[in-house]
Assembly symmetry: C2
Homo-oligomer: 343 residues x 2
């Protein structure tokens, strides 16, 4: 009962943050009111859960920072995330995002490339604007290094992912390394930069960085489970995307390890690219069930979520720390039960 009340309260706080961020995002772009602004706002999408910017806000607040000081950086984080989705959808050939046509379907490939670039630049422009919101330049410069490093790492992870896709082979360790770069680096950079902007001492910045990294890994594993859990109704992007793009994600890698000869052949066929994607998806789901790969995956995601929670032990007690713990506690379950948050 107490936990439910607490979770309700958390939900109310998160809704307030999301509204505040949505207003700030619109204010950031609408001032210009031109075609690029319209594309950027489209890419930023219908009001979502704003997971990443809320992580930045809570990280700053958890170390004694002020919300209004870091709000621009939080907006920037959401811009950076939207940039990555915009370019990802081109690369994956995904046509639907959050229930509406992907940016490249709505505006064409050329403008989608430019809109993604603009959103990356806005990530950094928003970070710079923290200076005008009261953050000393020294902190902005330190956060810049963390955020830019996360960006390069993200790209490195994407290239590694495309190499894995070509060779159609990947160990669990390499998968973890890949998602640590592709997804967790940005979570890590987001939490860490929130703490840096708030002026936290280094051990606290590091602790929040670890929290973000582990949460990001848990989040990506849970995200990779989604296509195999159920139909399109639970996922913001179509369930067929991963199979169609022959993407080796954790459930498939674990299934490969545990499968007998017949199931191994079935997986090979499904990821061979010759089968219609919907048939391939059904075949993979069958193998995953027989090999208990899904359960194994959920346990791995949970272990990373636990690590994330443990990283918070280094922080002083606060409502923000508690909410960060809630994120970690429910990351995997929420991902599995609801539409993909933040995607």
């Amino acid at each position: 009962m107490a936990r439910e009340l607490f979770a309700d309260d958390t939900d109310a706080v998160l809704s307030r943050y999301a509204e505040l961020l949505q207003r700030e995002i619109i204010r950031t772009w609408e001032a210009d009111g031109d075609s690029l602004a319209a594309m950027a706002l489209y890419a930023l999408g219908a009001p979502g859960k704003m997971l990443r910017p809320i992580l930045l806000l809570e990280s700053a607040l958890a170390v004694g920072g002020q919300l209004e000081h870091v709000l621009p950086a939080a907006v920037g984080t959401e811009c950076g995330h939207a940039a990555s989705l915009t370019h990802d959808d081109i690369i994956d050939g995904d046509e639907i995002r959050r229930g509406q046509p992907a940016v490249h379907r709505r505006f064409g490939l050329d403008d989608a490339i430019v809109a993604g670039d603009a959103l990356i630049f806005q990530l950094f422009l928003s970070l710079a604007r923290c200076r005008h919101a009261g953050v000393p330049g020294e902190r902005v410069a330190a956060a810049l290094e963390v955020v830019a490093t996360a960006g390069v790492t993200l790209c490195r992870g994407q290239i590694l992912e495309s190499e894995i896709t070509v060779r159609q082979h990947c160990s669990v360790g390499e998968y973890r390394e890949m998602i640590a770069m592709k997804t967790a680096a940005l979570f890590q950079g987001t939490c860490m930069s929130g703490a840096i902007l708030a002026g936290a001492p280094e051990p606290l910045c590091e602790a929040l960085g670890r929290y973000g990294r582990e949460l990001g890994i848990a989040f990506q594993i849970a995200d990779d489970l989604l296509p195999y859990l159920s139909g399109d109704e639970t996922a913001g992007k179509p369930s067929l995307s991963d199979v169609r793009n022959r993407r080796l994600t954790l459930p498939v890698i674990l299934a490969q390890e545990a499968a007998d000869t017949t199931d191994l052949a079935a997986l090979g066929m499904a990821f061979g690219g010759a089968m219609p994607a919907s048939e391939a998806l059904e075949a993979v789901r069958g193998v995953l069930e027989r090999t208990s790969a899904m359960t194994h995956c959920v346990h791995m995601a949970m272990a990373h979520a636990d690590e994330a929670q443990r990283a918070l032990d280094h922080l002083p007690p606060s409502a923000s720390r508690e909410r960060l713990a809630v994120f970690a506690r429910y990351a995997v379950i929420r991902q599995s039960l609801r539409r993909r948050p933040g995607r």
Copy 2:
């Protein structure tokens, strides 16, 4: 005679800068030694003239800055430029860049999008690293705002250009506004950030910003002349690109204004998209000659180069100021006589 000696000396200094920058660029990426680094180095291309990073170095030196303090930011500028070329070549469908296959031809569309993104992130990571080279964080944060603003403006200019291409109509004023965003904003941001990182007082930063902006406009006008001046042999990218992409550049806009009914129809045909690009190019060249549009263009470029030189009057005398003046003086001529520098 004196001028020639001076120019020779300038060339020697510029060669030394270019070598230094080339070494730094390789050092920046080779430390990682993975596929992304290989793509980034490929995108950064054969040692070029390094126009933009040299502008940053000279801007810093012209206000009393130290080269080693701002060297990382200069490397970043070249990364940002390479990012823009990488994504531009996808958008324009250009297959050759600096005499070798464009990044998307060499590595495929998907990886070229990611490589471009990584180069943008590296632009900001390199800027952040100036802190470790001795620049106070306050200056890095101030430069960040200028560079990120230039990036968003660049994207805005690209979207405006694509709108102009669709409607196939553009006034001289609108063209100037478009290239001021698409090209000159980055020149402006580059020169200004060099001055900011060097700790120059605001009026000097503004003067160098104006210099960069006017030089950038002159540079882009001269660049837009190239396809109509001669064959492929003078241009780093194929002469047919602008006609094939139905791009309304200054020579064409001026020709439209001065053309008689026959020539206007010829231009309409050439940019209608139905004619083979090589025939269209010849037709346009004929009209440009008859309307004196080329001469008119050169005069406009020269006027902006003169403005750039005048902006330097606000700076104290120095060898760097003199070299910046040389850039402005020869920007248009060099562009016309040689291979496109810096592209």
